[in-house]
Symmetry: C2
Subunit: 233 residues, 2 copies
Amino acid sequence: MNIQSLDNLTDFKRDLEVLEEKQFLLLVETNQDIIKVSTKTALKNLPKIFDEAIKIGNTKGFNATSLRDLSQATDMSLGKIYTYISAKDDLLLMLHSHYIKVIEDTFNQIGLPHKNPMDNLLLAVKAHLYLSQVFRPWFYFAFTESKHLNKKIIALAKESELKSDLYFRNIIQSGIQAKRFAAVDRNFTSSMIKALLQDWYLKPWKYAERNIDVDSYFKEIANLLTIYLTPKD
Amino acid sequence: MNIQSLDNLTDFKRDLEVLEEKQFLLLVETNQDIIKVSTKTALKNLPKIFDEAIKIGNTKGFNATSLRDLSQATDMSLGKIYTYISAKDDLLLMLHSHYIKVIEDTFNQIGLPHKNPMDNLLLAVKAHLYLSQVFRPWFYFAFTESKHLNKKIIALAKESELKSDLYFRNIIQSGIQAKRFAAVDRNFTSSMIKALLQDWYLKPWKYAERNIDVDSYFKEIANLLTIYLTPKD
DNA sequence: CAATAATGTGAACGATCGTTCATAATATAA
DNA sequence: TTATATTATGAACGATCGTTCACATTATTG
């Protein structure tokens, strides 16, 4: 994953897939005490369990999703599912920590490559948008099901949330210090950016209806930030 | 409810309470086929059921909230609760339609009193913010539990959502036509406003941590909109 | 091929859920 | 006061849930 991958969604998606597969292998190896089958078998079945859990969870909520629902959707027996998880809650823990790690890896690999703070800011915005585009089901799932997380996952999620918050605030802060940005409220600005990013994955139907793809949405945000952050002379 | 009420939160809250009590009476009278007790008794107990249902629902989700939980929280027996609702789902229908009506009433009473489109826009923003401040638990509940709504409530919610969307877009549209606003994208702008409003009730802890009250949050949005919508000369 | 290991199955268990209703308790009217 | 109407109770029922495990099936090894 590098800056070039963020040129367009197709390249990004390709690179992200590689990153995700690596992370999946790590996940299976880390949870060998829970997963009672070989790594090969787990890599074949676990992703499907994740996918369907998110899919059903996004329509009826995870709490209302029974393991019998999941069994039917994945075409696996109840017993088979229980060779990959120790409990229903455990599924959430594995699933969320997997995606959180992939996302953090992505940002670590991108870093802050530009000298111009606006370039860095827009790059971060684009990376977030692309990530939520590719992993939209999970992003939606994680947000709307945040109530049902146990303490372990909440700790993970909060840590990740703080990191991304800091990521934006630091860029804005350095932009203001360098007098490249207007002296706006740092907290409000980063909150605003996050709210706009969230809207993208929380209300996909809205943007689909208006035929707005991720790149044109990015341009609108970029335009807003340019107007808002350009220093007044 | 009039423009003066929007001067400060205290006045708004007072006027809103009157409006809500009226609506509660209407609700009870409308549902006399379901509610098996006198109006007087219903007015005493139903609000408590609503309040506690929202409160528990906001911590563990409505689906995971059992009627036994609700029974304990309201200090009412299971049977007593069932003299006010016909089913668990029915509780949601009554609850949501009540709040939706109160909110629509509020906007109907405010209308578009100003000649300057920016004044109207900011008034609408403030009304939304104040509403979500006073009814924060319900706003949070309605958003995060939207998955579990049945078709009847979804229809209600979508209609209400469309109305408020149109409300903002019309103001922006007329502002642009009158050349008082820059020629921004109308859809994006109204989406942005709604995303910022949503952030206020979806992440109350964030703003509480930063000691930002509803009035200072309003000022930040007003500042952003002024910068974004002021026509370039 | 047979023997062993790995993987898959789904009936069964106890817990909890929404909902009902015979009955009790309380308030109102006569 | 007594009689009647209103309101409140919570045990009980059938359905569904997460989870287990004795067993069946399939794949791998020798």
